[in-house]
């Protein structure tokens, strides 16, 4: 049995604002029958551009219904800009908290709100540049990133609890792990102190392994790190690169360029004497 707060139970048993507004200013549907929960949100603005009325229809469990009910109560009287600031945390907090496994219900409310506002403004349904990561539940990379940032999530399981992504077939769990790393890296890059020598050496090796060697190999070439002295990276060319007249250009324009970009602007790549 779930441990729902009294407020969740109360909003489930006596949901506010059930229904659909005729000729709404904003409307959105998120989720699907297959997902196990879905929400249709409609709202209407008054002459001062404040939300006069909001109604919902929800298919889902008690916490999905309670989250929808809470959301409609919270946004009444707000401008759309104010409403957009309502986060899933705010919805959960309004209800006195939700079980971890049910946080996605509050995220669904926040997503519906965002989409309904987009609809009101005539913006596209899919966030610009967003890509579906979880096919089962139709969750985009942007949504996952937002949930990670706002809730400070650290594991794939957390992401699943909050967004449902990865909770179906599980095929996208690697992709979610990558997003987690990326978002974490963003936050750490900003605060990252200068690299130590050892860190720099490791990063150079990793970058060559991941970013450089695969491309060279495609053309039948290869590269090996011979030594790293300060910012000088001494490499030897192999395979097709070793006999190629243009290998010097490759080293400067490609290898050095990538290392400057990904490790440090001060990197200089040199070819070892044959």
């Amino acid at each position: 049995m779930w441990e729902y707060t009294d407020k969740v139970k109360e909003h489930f048993l006596n949901p506010r604002n059930v229904g659909e507004i005729e000729n709404p200013d904003g409307v959105a549907e998120v989720g699907s029958l297959a997902c196990g929960d879905a929400l249709k949100l409609t709202f209407k603005l008054d002459e001062n551009k404040r939300i006069k009325d909001a109604k919902f229809k929800t298919f889902g469990c008690a916490s999905a219904i309670a989250s929808s009910s809470a959301l409609t109560e919270m946004i009444k009287g707000m401008t759309v800009d104010e409403a957009l600031k309502v986060s899933n945390q705010d919805i959960a907090q309004y209800l006195g908290g939700l079980p971890d496994e049910k946080m996605h219900c509050s995220v669904m409310g926040q997503q519906a709100l965002e989409k309904a506002v987009e609809n009101y403004r005539g913006a596209p349904a899919l966030e610009a540049g967003a890509k579906i990561i979880c096919e089962c539940f139709g969750v985009t990379d942007k949504e996952i990133e937002r949930a990670i940032r706002e809730n400070n999530l650290s594991t794939v399981e957390d992401v699943t609890n909050y967004t449902k992504a990865g909770g179906g077939c599980g095929n996208c769990q690697d992709a979610i792990a990558q997003i987690l790393e990326r978002v974490k890296a963003e936050t750490t890059t900003i605060a990252r102190p200068k690299l130590t020598n050892l860190q720099k050496i490791r990063l150079i090796e990793e970058t060559i392994e991941r970013e450089i060697r695969p491309s060279l190999k495609q053309d039948g070439g290869d590269i090996a790190v011979i030594d790293i002295i300060g910012n000088r990276v001494i490499v030897a060319t192999r395979g097709a690169c070793a006999t190629c007249n243009a290998s010097g250009i490759t080293l400067k324009n490609f290898v050095e360029h990538r290392l400057k970009e990904l490790v440090s602007q001060d990197i200089i790549v040199e070819e070892a004497s044959k």
Partner: protein, 393 residues
């Protein structure tokens, strides 16, 4: 508020007679059954009697009964024993609808070099024995198929399946946790090697189970310790639980007919009543080959957890195969294996009755359920759309 308990596949009420049979072993008769003195020895005598009571219900011999702590322990012991006694064989055959006690164990074993075949079921939850035949290989150590399904009540032809396995020299185990006490079982008429029972599903308390091990079956214990249960399960006996289970088996034998007449007719009345009063509802699982106490009904366009919580407000207890009730995001593996559409599976409710249910209770549930489903459908964004489509047609 009165509780209307229709969740007997989850657990059952301890029968008054069972509790009475147990009480002395919590109070006066606290001796250790292995002790040399009469004070402990009399407890050993009660365990001996209980073993006979269990054997009688199963048509087994008392020495074939090993007391365990629960159905899960019995299942684990059976599978692990088969693998230990046949170390050269690395293949296990189960079905896609087995209880987690089997499925999770097997998926764990699959990471340790064992190969698992999960047999499919059809849309009614029925197993095709031809698939079983095809799955058996010289490398197969054990076949484990449940007798009655906990979610749908669908009965597997385990006696035929056991013969098939035996013809190829393969051990056969069945999880009979749901079927024991609900349909007649006679181990004299089959070749099943091992069978699991759980006490709390037949009006004994939680914490007591049985593994039936056919005489002559090689066995390797799971719990290794003292000489208890002839060395087949170490650990001081749960004397009170064993006394209770003995009594519960005696009662089950007595109630077997009532289970198949009275309980069956209550279940049928409930099912008919709900299907006829609530549109877009259907039964999951084969209607013929089914335990007499179970019905699994899907109410389309609404979600199971919400249904259960509204039922809970009226004191009605049942279960759901919906994703939300389990904390996972996918509905029940049993319903998915049967190909029940997600839209139906999310709104599935399992009612499981017992001899303690009454006609009044069934009438009450039939009376209250339509309003619950209607209330949730009134909130569902899919419902009006469907209604409109239906009227348009």
């Amino acid at each position: 508020m009165k509780t209307i308990y229709m969740d007997n596949n989850a657990t059952t009420k301890v029968a008054d007679e069972v509790l009475e049979a147990m009480l002395p072993y919590f109070t006066r008769l606290y001796g250790n059954p292995s002790s040399m003195h009469t004070f402990g020895g009399q407890v050993g005598q009660r365990i001996h009697d209980a073993r006979e009571q269990v054997a009688l219900l199963l048509g087994a011999m008392p020495e074939e009964i090993v007391f365990t702590s629960c159905g899960t322990e019995s299942d684990n012991s059976a599978i692990r024993s088969a693998l230990m006694t046949r170390p050269d064989k690395k293949h296990i055959v189960i079905s896609r609808v087995e209880h987690p006690a089997i499925r999770t164990l097997c998926s764990h074993l699959s990471t340790q070099g064992y190969k698992i075949t999960e047999l499919p079921v059809d849309k009614n939850g029925i197993l095709d024995l031809e698939n079983l035949e095809k799955s058996l290989t010289p490398d197969t150590a054990i076949v484990s198929l449940m007798w009655g399904n906990n979610e749908t009540g669908v009965i597997f032809p385990v006696e035929e399946a056991a013969r098939m396995a035996h013809d190829k020299g393969i051990i056969f185990h069945t999880d009979a946790v749901q079927s024991t006490g609900k349909i007649p079982i006679n181990m004299k008429n089959n070749v099943i090697d091992m069978l699991s029972i759980s006490g709390h599903k037949l009006h004994a308390p939680k914490g007591i189970g049985v593994l039936y091990i056919r005489r002559g079956t090689k066995f390797s214990p799971f719990l290794i310790g003292g000489h208890q249960e002839k060395g087949r399960r170490g650990g001081t006996e749960n004397a009170a639980g064993i006394a209770g289970l003995g009594k519960a088996c005696e009662l089950a034998a007595k109630n077997m007919e009532k289970e198949n007449t009275h309980v069956r007719s209550l279940r049928d009345k409930l099912e008919r009543g709900l299907l006829s009063r609530i549109s877009h509802s259907r039964v999951n699982g084969d209607i013929q080959n089914r335990l007499p106490n179970t019905t699994n009904i899907s109410f389309e366009f609404v979600e199971g957890e919400a249904i259960l919580l509204l039922m809970n407000e009226l004191g009605i207890c049942a279960s759901s195969g919906s994703a939300c009730t389990s904390g996972s995001l996918q509905p029940s593996h049993v319903l998915r294996a049967m190909g029940v559409p997600f839209t139906m599976a999310h709104g599935s409710i399992r009612f499981s009755l017992s001899v303690y249910n009454t006609e009044e209770e069934v009438d009450f549930v039939i009376e209250k359920m339509p309003a619950i489903i209607e209330r949730l459908r009134g909130m569902s964004p899919f419902w009006t759309q469907t209604q409109q489509t239906c009227t348009n047609q």
